[in-house]
Symmetry: C2
Subunit: 691 residues, 2 copies
Amino acid sequence: MLRQRVLSSFHTNPLTRQIFKPSPLLRTLQKLNTRRASPSPLSNASLRTIPARSSPLPTPHSRASATIAPSNGSKTPKRSKVVRFVYKASAFCGFAGLTATGLVVAFFIYDASTYKEEAEKYDIGVSELALNPRRGGPKNLPIAEVLVDDEDGEEMLKQRDKPRLVVLGCGWGSVSLLKNINPDNYHITVVSPSNYFLYTPLLPSATVGTLELRSLVEPIRRITSRVKGHFLKANAEGVDFSAKLVEVSQTLPSGEVRRFYLPYDKLVIGVGSKTRTHGVEGLENVEFLKNVADARKIRSKVIECFERACLPSTTDEERRKLLSFVICGGGPTGVEFAAELFDMLNEDLTLVYPKILRNEVSVHVVQSRSHILNTYDEALSRYAEERFARDQVDVLTNARVSRIENDRVIFTQKEKGSGKVITKELPFGMCLWSTGVAQTDFAEHIASQLELQRNKHALETDSHLRLLGTPLGDVYAIGDCSTVQNNIASHITHFLRQIAWEKGADPEKLALDFGMWRNVATRVRKKFPQATDHLRRLDRLFEQYDVDKSGTLDFDELKELLSQIDSKLTSLPATAQRAHQQGQYLARKFNKLAQAAPGLAVNNVTDGDLDEAVYKGFEYKHFGSLAYIGNAAVFDLNGLSIGGGLIFVYLWRSVYFAQSVSLRTRMLLAMDWGKRALFGRGEIKFPFLCV
Amino acid sequence: MLRQRVLSSFHTNPLTRQIFKPSPLLRTLQKLNTRRASPSPLSNASLRTIPARSSPLPTPHSRASATIAPSNGSKTPKRSKVVRFVYKASAFCGFAGLTATGLVVAFFIYDASTYKEEAEKYDIGVSELALNPRRGGPKNLPIAEVLVDDEDGEEMLKQRDKPRLVVLGCGWGSVSLLKNINPDNYHITVVSPSNYFLYTPLLPSATVGTLELRSLVEPIRRITSRVKGHFLKANAEGVDFSAKLVEVSQTLPSGEVRRFYLPYDKLVIGVGSKTRTHGVEGLENVEFLKNVADARKIRSKVIECFERACLPSTTDEERRKLLSFVICGGGPTGVEFAAELFDMLNEDLTLVYPKILRNEVSVHVVQSRSHILNTYDEALSRYAEERFARDQVDVLTNARVSRIENDRVIFTQKEKGSGKVITKELPFGMCLWSTGVAQTDFAEHIASQLELQRNKHALETDSHLRLLGTPLGDVYAIGDCSTVQNNIASHITHFLRQIAWEKGADPEKLALDFGMWRNVATRVRKKFPQATDHLRRLDRLFEQYDVDKSGTLDFDELKELLSQIDSKLTSLPATAQRAHQQGQYLARKFNKLAQAAPGLAVNNVTDGDLDEAVYKGFEYKHFGSLAYIGNAAVFDLNGLSIGGGLIFVYLWRSVYFAQSVSLRTRMLLAMDWGKRALFGRGEIKFPFLCV
């Protein structure tokens, strides 16, 4: 009562009101205060006497003192702090507890909502053509014009009559195409023998159990569902370019092979590569590292070696052989696998296996060149080699594998001093073969059909990624199976003649001044985007190649200039990075083409170089390379070469983390790295390695 | 300055000090207040005028007003709330942010500490005998008296001369033995062809991807390391009971089989069981569900069926066949698998596969008895059957499989009305066979060696779990491979004669009064603990079997009584629960035996029934059975039968969660169930199913 009177008198003064409105916290403290204070007659008395004097005269004085000395009312300052701390801590704990409980309850409620009580059945129309496709084409096979899920709801129905885009393969190129293409433009079908996308750069980590394989894998059906597309788990066997049909095969468990045709308007070939054998015999004794099954096989083979090495019936020599792990190939895959394997041996296996095993373990990298990571900056190669030397990973450079027996690698190596070639052998318990890529059978078959395809290692495309030798705008090739023709030189004559004719001059008598050269350079850049880097200092190039200092470039001088630039261009690397960029490029171009289609239809433009008309050529941007080398990592970022310990390992991880394919895989990756820290690879890995 | 003076004058009054000590928060508010207030000349002026009046006279008045009306100084009450809320919210966010950052930084620091920079090598002594074991035994094989890790550090060295306990198998029984045994008492070696313990009750869940297989698996080496034991991944082939040697074999990749002997002082046989075939032919066409590889095979087979069903070259009839999943066996495994499979089909696969597939999917359970879950309470069987009927899981009871062809099950079924037996067939895409357990080859081989072993289905032990026919205290058998001989009747004559002799009477003339009967019952309970339940109401039994109402039981009456009890005992179920209890029992007994050993040695007691002397017989306690039946679960808890929807599913989960083998697996299980809620089975499952 008394207090209320004081408050009401306060409220008559607007200024007081704004300043002295008690906060909820303070009100609580006040209550505590009065309760605690009451046992003391003195404080009680003083409290009672206050209002008598203050209420009639709420002076600015009371305001000031209030701002200066609010109370919380315990008996000594020391205890007051403790009490306050306990009070606050309990409040905090209580709050945290309530929040946690609330979250758990909310989770269970949400979880309960994710179960379907009733079995669902749909009324779905399936076209008769989907169930019984008509036969046709050169081989009179069924033609899959309609698929069984073409009428699964309105969304799918809308897609049915759109241009058919068929994508072969589901690697980096195809997936980046699918992730960037506008779902409204095409009826998309993906054909691939495997139904998942694999995040290949982290495969070596998954092999030794640092990561779960599952964290690197994304079901392709989830990716196609974004574009309301279709997926067929089958093999592409061949293409009929004139009838626009892909021949697809399915092998039944009984061994019977069934074939059918899949019609396309646009076909994208992204079938990847297979492992390069270099003509070495005995590869049935080694492991490859291309897919999830390979990784699993390597896992169990490594653990099998360890288990066998523990048995009393294993001799000393056998034990050393079982624990010798050989990696043929010193590229990024080989090096990262060696590093991860060594980490596992060093950090985890020693915890549970007999200690003698650790002493007899050896890891060897057999590299044909003079350095490992030879596509990287030399400083980085050296750093990696030093790191490996310290870790007792044995690096054998200039070593060429001649054949592989069931338990040993036979190789020749140049002696450092004499240069003499000596044949050596290396026994192994497990040997990994990772020595680059070669063309798949399908790509080889396609290439053999087309006259213009002369490259033995990959399908050649123009700078618009169109497969050479096929009708313009029908067939594209991306990723490891393809190479962009950068042979400017072979086109130069044709190109120069065109320029000369445009200038109205005889090619032989052509004379370009600097202004004209600049125009030509622009056109070269457009046609051969990879050359852009080499066409930066036009004035210098002009000076340098204007041999006769005439102030103009004649035909021969220009030819020489372009040939020189051409020679500087190398073919694109067979990396995830390149495939990813090509997929993205195609998606963007296909989006543009679809946008332009109505306009072109109105103008009756159906032929001609539509790609060229709507979009620029493909230009590869190299963002750099990176590699994990055993509790250290190296980065080769277009000239900037850096490498180092753990901090770079975290950097290396964050790059892959950011590039990872979906939120799900990103979460899983973070969890995996966390689990490695908490439980070690061992805890996580053995279960899988065991099986 | 002014404020300080006010404060110091306050501090002269001790009472004021305790009550008005400004809190840090208030001091901040004061600062805010003065800053905000200063632009107003009025408030400035009033502030300046205050001290002149208040400082010389710090009356109780100021105290009271302070407790009543502290300030926070914004201009209107409304804004003040907003400002305060923003202030507090920012403080809270800031605090949360800082905490989170701190945790992340701490994690990274911890993580960084888990990497080993240097390669470690140890100076480890390995005994020559471990590397080159001496030969001997009946087959003159190497005898593994010393293992390669027997000298790995002091801890291991201490174990070397302890009694040798060899455990065959690493299932529920062996693992519960290893988890409960005192590490100081024995030199333990585990021999098993698989190097992991599998949490079998959740295997059906893992098969369809609700759980990760990895979450159910615990590396056996982690379990043996607790007891400073050893693990050999090899097969047990036979036992020489007189020389106390286990014959162990290892198969090399080349196919060569190497054998060696492992000596033991105590041998525990826990080799488990294999699937029962019931003499049905064509089982090469079906899947089993015993281990991780099986689960993985089923996963990929189910997905392969779905993928094939999508292809245009698949006919309508084939599609229905591919999507027909048949489960032979209506026990807990079969029922839970059917439920989980149906959940997956209903909740997840429809999201990514063409909808027509959902309509053509069918799940069938073929059960030879009249109900599924026939070992459970009848009400629960009925509940499960109703649930399945609603879910359109087809339950075929009284159906006996006669043979299995490559794509269909041929079975006979009694017609409900006529009782006529009709032969039917059921085409399938995938068929699971889970119809009970049978003896392994090893157990069969052991049984054939021992005259006393007459049970065709399992190794017989006495109530101390000692393998019948082997020297007392040498060999034990636990888990599915064993059965505890509960044939009281066959021992009765011997037993009764013993009692009679002790009473100094001719057995034929024995007459037990109630007091004597009570003593006999106690001894029966001790020898046959399973009979305890049936020996509760001794007075009633006495009355009931005292046929001639003589007030005493004679020999024949007693014999009849015990035979009746014997007939009520059934053999123990082949469950994880039983194996777990047996392992625990053996561990406890072995601990007791080791404790008693010094005393016995002093008294020169080396022979005789030591087990009987130190520990009671094994007594199985049935805690109940439970089963998941598709978004519902049933519990059969010794008479209490309950079942129902989601809440029981959570209960079902928590039982298994609590029983799970380690903290790691428990965390992983929780994460798996969480992930199922967040991403569905699909997200998690497909990646693995794909591969």
